[in-house]
Amino acid sequence: MENSTFRSQRKWNIGFILFLTLLLALLSQISIRLTLILVLGISLGFVLQKSRFCLVSALRDPILIGMTQLTRAFLLLLGISILGFALVSWGAAQRNIPLSLNVFPFGVHTVVGGLLFGIGMVLAGGCSTGILIRIGEGFAMQLVAFFGLAVGSVLGERSVKKWSSAFGEWPGIFLPDILGWVPTLILEIIALSALWQWARWWQKKQLGE
């Protein structure tokens, strides 16, 4: 255990704000769009750290410690995102603006990838987002994890074709194409609500022991 006195980091904070302002000003000379994206990235990082939001905790803790606080918050995030994406997608189609959503092809490798990712994120103490956040917080462990992530990603990229040719790959299933937008959204929201209710019940049950 270490003892340190409290030192205000305000001067560093002011310096860093100046640095960010300069960075954004410079970038805006090159591209407004990229500047906006950097602002969004900074906002995401800020909010993730401040709310101690952790996707690993959301997926790991129901089983490991019987807690579903973050699981439920993640379900809320999912719900908002589904509705928002649907709205934006519809709006873009109305205006003939090209927009791509993450409807990925799938196969055995999707399941294997998920399994490996799930195992890895628990061992590394963070998922890809969490690693970046914790590097920002000063954790050396996640710097090591980042190195692993970078190397692993290249290995993975070079393996995809082997997986898809060995076990097949099917094009992504965009649910609105099959069911229509409104039934899809209703179904998804019902599914998320059901999961939310389960999560709340699960925690009560786990803690009641």
Partner: protein, 76 residues
Amino acid sequence: MTRFAMDIWGEMCPIPLIKAKKKLLSMQCGDILVLETEHSCTSRGIVVWAKANRYTIEEKEVANGIWHLELTKTHE
């Protein structure tokens, strides 16, 4: 009323909580578990878990980015 200090320094989240849960089982009502961590998520996670279990928890930042926790086992 005994105070127990447990070293969770540097442990990856959620190991400190798992260890605290285990330690709590062997403690008596009224005993206090004292922990210190430099991880914001670990500290928050223990506070959230303690409150969900209706234990008394005190969390205080004692240095830049170091949190001191006191968890009282108020019931079995």
